[in-house]
């Protein structure tokens, strides 16, 4: 088993941390995992992304050209990763930040209003966790509880009081995505 995930968005949307949470959950599940950020000039304003690879074996390339899984938290990332996603793959899109529908019909595009859901929970910064929750519907190797455990296990003590809301964000994202999947004809 090997799966690659790209998470992309504006700097400040929690792209890199979102990827780390998935990486921690995979590691705690006994998987080999790599997390690699874009660290070039683009991290100073503009878009940021990270690639997470999860596998049962020693991971080769930490980068991937056509990932089966991706999260696009803004429109530039939607434009970029809709094009390169592997056929049959799943792209979670932050519907709050895009103004168009999907162009491709050979991939699954799951629209999730991440900003609105996060604001309903009470903190718009939770938007990345909403998206991660949605992604998990297409990543059966990692369960929502695994990510919850990873957050609890690796979040610094000073942030532990934020856990309940993070859990809620994950759950709401997962549930929203589940409903979107239900609309997909079998």
């Amino acid at each position: 088993m090997q799966k690659e995930i790209i998470i992309a968005g504006f700097g400040g949307q929690g792209v890199l941390f979102g990827g780390q949470v998935v990486a921690y959950a995979a590691m705690d599940n006994g998987k080999d995992v790599t997390w690699i950020p874009s660290y070039g000039p683009e991290m100073r304003g503009g878009t940021a992304n990270c690639t997470v690879v999860i596998a049962d074996h020693e991971i080769g390339s930490p980068l991937v050209k056509n990932p089966p899984l991706a999260i696009a938290l803004n429109l530039p990332s939607f434009d970029k990763y809709e094009e390169v996603l592997a056929p049959g793959g799943t792209l979670v899109v932050n519907q709050s930040m895009v103004d168009r529908a999907a162009k491709r019909d050979d991939i699954h595009v799951i629209m999730v209003p991440c900003n609105e859901i996060a604001e309903e929970i009470g903190d718009k910064k939770l938007m990345n966790m909403v998206a991660i929750g949605a992604l998990l519907t297409a990543l059966p190797e990692i369960k929502v509880e695994d990510v919850e455990k990873a957050l609890k296990g690796h979040l610094p003590t000073r942030h532990q009081h934020l856990l309940p809301k993070n859990y809620e964000a994950l759950k709401r994202g997962y549930e929203h995505a589940q409903k979107e999947w239900d609309k997909v004809p079998a």
Binding site: T34, I36, P41, E58, L63
Partner: protein
């Protein structure tokens, strides 16, 4: 100890601390800065020496001074910064004292860019500084390997009174992977018979790289070479993947090696009998392992993130007995596995001629597509 998610640069810093690093001197440069940043916090916490020098020249000469006292000392930088250190490195080599230097390589030449590259292989392996001196060069391909080789580099430097360099590229420095950190070692200052660590109640010692009499300098050169024979005999390290029945053999170090692993797995899935040799010590180079494989292989593919530098070491071993092909992405570009897979398929489809210069034939292919 349980595995934790470590970033390559920070993992190297912590591994050095746990191996007994007593003094660090450096200067910030992307994509290496986290080594320095981490140690700026960690070293003072432990009462150990950390200096952000005024420049890389300052840093390497501080390393030179501290190394003379026999404590574990290190610097780190990235390509342009390492170039600045070359004079000091030659002096350290000429003085025959142990020191560890980490190069988190980026795109070059010149100011280049901050993207991952392997263009400093020649500089690290063949010399860089002036004069005739050997040096140990380790090329980790993962965070765990970076940790293990950092610890090893101090042992090797001391054992052979030699510079040990770690060369990795920016992506290994920036990447996070699960890794196990070794336990904290107590600092055990060894009583080196050469260390200038205070001459109270003993005869004074002099450490220098000056031998004004050429015959003395010649003797020094021969001593260094003799020591290098021991290194070559005892310290070669490499990792083999799917080589038992391999007809085609890919060779790559560091990130190029691990990207090749993905390509080799995919080629195997498609029924091509291909394996991978990943040198971990690029100096000493695993000549003997490659010599063994030269009998077995129908053809070799060398893959690097440069225009073909380790390629020379492969060709020195294979010596025209089998075809050697090359695929490179220089300038800060990391190849994707499918690029290497396409090369494997091209070579497996054969026939592959024995080129006098695989670099040139690769250049023709590379520029024909552009």
């Amino acid at each position: 100890m349980p595995k934790e998610l470590w970033k390559g640069n920070e993992a190297i810093a912590e591994a050095a601390v746990r191996a007994g690093l007593e003094a660090y001197f450096g200067y910030p440069i992307t994509p290496q800065t986290e080594v320095l940043e981490y140690l700026s916090r960690r070293m003072p916490e432990l009462g150990r020496a950390f200096v952000q020098a005024e420049s890389e020249l300052g840093a390497i000469n501080m390393v030179y001074g501290a190394a003379c006292t026999g404590v574990r000392v290190m610097s780190s930088s990235s390509s342009p910064g390492v170039s600045l250190m070359m004079e000091g490195l030659s002096y350290i080599a000429g003085t025959e004292i142990p020191a560890v230097l980490v190069n988190v390589m980026r795109g070059g030449p010149g100011l280049g860019n901050i993207a991952p590259a392997q263009g400093d292989y020649y500089q690290a392996v063949r010399g860089g500084g002036h004069g005739d001196y050997p040096r140990i060069v380790l090329a980790p391909a993962s965070v765990q390997e970076a940790i293990d080789l950092t610890a090893l580099s101090f042992d090797l430097a001391e054992k052979y009174r030699m510079i040990t360099m770690l060369i990795l590229d920016g992506s290994t420095g920036q990447m996070m992977e699960p890794a196990e950190m070794p336990a904290m070692q107590e600092i055990k200052r060894k009583n080196f018979e050469w260390a200038t660590n205070g001459a109270m109640n003993r005869e004074r010692r002099i450490l220098s790289s000056i031998y004004l009499n050429p015959l003395d300098e010649e003797k020094t050169n021969l001593r260094l070479l003799t020591r290098w024979q021991d290194v070559q005999a005892n310290e070669v390290r490499y990792k083999e993947y799917f080589l038992e029945d391999a007809q085609f053999i890919v060779i790559g170090f560091g990130t190029a090696g691990r990207v090749a692993l993905s390509a080799v797995r995919e080629a195997r899935a498609q029924g091509i009998k291909v394996g991978l040799l990943r040198p971990i010590t690029v100096s000493p180079f695993p000549y003997e392992a490659l010599e063994q494989l030269t009998g077995q292989a129908e053809a070799f593919l060398v893959t690097e993130m440069n225009t073909g530098q380790m390629l020379d070491d492969v060709m020195l071993t294979v010596r025209g007995r089998k075809p050697v092909e090359f695929y490179g992405r220089p300038g800060g570009v990391v190849p994707f596995p499918d690029e290497i897979l396409n090369e494997i398929k091209r070579i497996a489809a054969g026939p592959v001629p024995v080129h006098s210069n695989p670099r040139v034939s690769w250049l023709h292919r590379a520029t024909a597509h552009a």
